[in-house]
């Protein structure tokens, strides 16, 4: 009995002390972590739409969409987050479209854990750049060798799964947003 009591009390007090310190550390850092996430999104939006000055976060469905305004307060386009499963983990993509939600201005990969040297190439401009000025009316297709057709994306050699994941994540999210924005006419 005495033994049990001792074991329990030592374990409990170690846990309580650790939790106590951790709560302080977390409190001090949580604000900064949130800020980092926001900054990553803002930086990506500015890279894709350099003329955007004001970024208005608007709730849509159960997520958010960003409305971009230039310095004269003219609405210049949308930015949105799309996420889904990649080859090894979650891929989070930020995409910017024009004001009619018709043409993609470009995409940035916010987060991904694809294979270095292969799937990680989705972060390179040679892949991301393919989405520039694409018409979002049609679904994008991931192919081995892209022709002039403007809805085709050339897959990265040796990383078809990652390439296809990016394309599918975007297609799904664009469909979803079109419905939410009532653009499917």
């Amino acid at each position: 009995m005495k033994e049990t009591l001792k074991i329990t009390s030592v374990l409990t007090s170690v846990c309580v002390i650790c939790a106590f310190f951790l709560s302080f550390v977390y409190n001090a850092a949580s604000e900064k972590i949130e800020l980092n996430a926001k900054k990553a999104i803002n930086d990506a939006i500015i890279t894709l739409a350099p003329s955007a000055v004001t970024i208005n976060e608007t709730a849509i469905g159960n997520s958010v969409i960003y409305k971009l305004l230039d310095k004269k307060n003219i609405f210049i386009g949308y930015a949105f987050i799309a996420q889904g499963q990649g080859y090894q983990g979650k891929i989070i993509i930020l995409a910017v479209t024009d004001s009619a939600f018709k043409a993609i201005q470009g995409i940035e990969i916010i987060e991904s854990v694809e294979t270095p040297g292969l799937g990680a190439k989705i972060n390179e401009s040679s892949f991301k750049g393919q989405f520039k000025n694409l018409n979002s009316a049609e679904k994008f297709k991931c192919v081995q060798s892209a022709s002039e057709n403007h809805s085709q994306i050339q897959a990265i050699t040796g990383a078809t799964v990652s390439s296809r994941a990016v394309v599918n994540i975007l297609n799904t999210r664009i469909e979803e947003l079109k419905k939410l924005l009532n653009l499917n006419k």
Partner: protein, 191 residues
């Protein structure tokens, strides 16, 4: 002094004891990742060794491993939160391997084999030495893999631009290959 030096060479955690292989092989795709992981381990080792050495007399032997794990987990979480807040890029690159050092056998091993039997200052020196050894091991491994796999070290281009990177070096196979050569080299020197 003896406690610090032994971790750097004679009882090197990676190349001689072959401990902590999971982070060693997984995160050394580049020099910066290797060093960050190494520094995280140095921090956790020093502080958990100190804590374990401090409470070694009051911990009942039946639950000592559980207590060590909780203490290590607390320090690892602190490092994880710190990296997330101040070095988000590195935190992303290290991914799940940073929280995984909770069960890193170097840390648990040093707590069990050394800190629980020695005084505070000896334990701190032991932690520092082992941590520093781990750190240079990962730095070396990361640098070699980045050099051949991407042609650069710390993101700085070293090899000429027309060098075709050996992608295998950045993939898991490269980690095993380089580690094998380094361990072999270490054995050769020691004999």
């Amino acid at each position: 002094m003896k406690e610090i030096v032994k971790g750097l060479w004679k009882e090197h955690p990676v190349f001689r004891q072959l401990l902590g292989m999971c982070p060693t092989l997984a995160v050394t795709t580049s020099a910066i990742n290797g060093v960050s992981m190494g520094l995280a381990v140095v921090f956790v080792l020093i502080f958990s060794s100190t804590a374990v050495s401090l409470i070694k007399k009051i911990v009942p032997p039946q639950v000592r491993i559980a207590v060590y794990t909780i203490i290590i987990a607390a320090f690892v979480t602190i490092v994880d939160i710190f990296f997330k807040a101040y070095f988000p890029q590195i935190s992303k690159a290290l991914g799940p391997y940073l929280p995984l050092i909770i069960v890193n056998c170097i840390i648990l091993g040093r707590c069990e084999a050394f800190a629980s039997k020695h005084g505070i200052f000896a334990s701190i020196r032991d932690g520092l030495g082992m941590g520093a050894g781990f750190c240079w091991g990962l730095l070396l491994l990361g640098s070699i893999r980045e050099l051949f796999g991407a042609g650069s070290i710390f993101g700085l281009r070293i090899l000429p631009l027309n060098y075709e990177p050996m992608i295998a070096m950045i993939l898991p196979a490269g980690a095993f290959l380089v580690l094998g050569f380094l361990v072999a080299g270490m054995n050769k020197i020691e004999r």
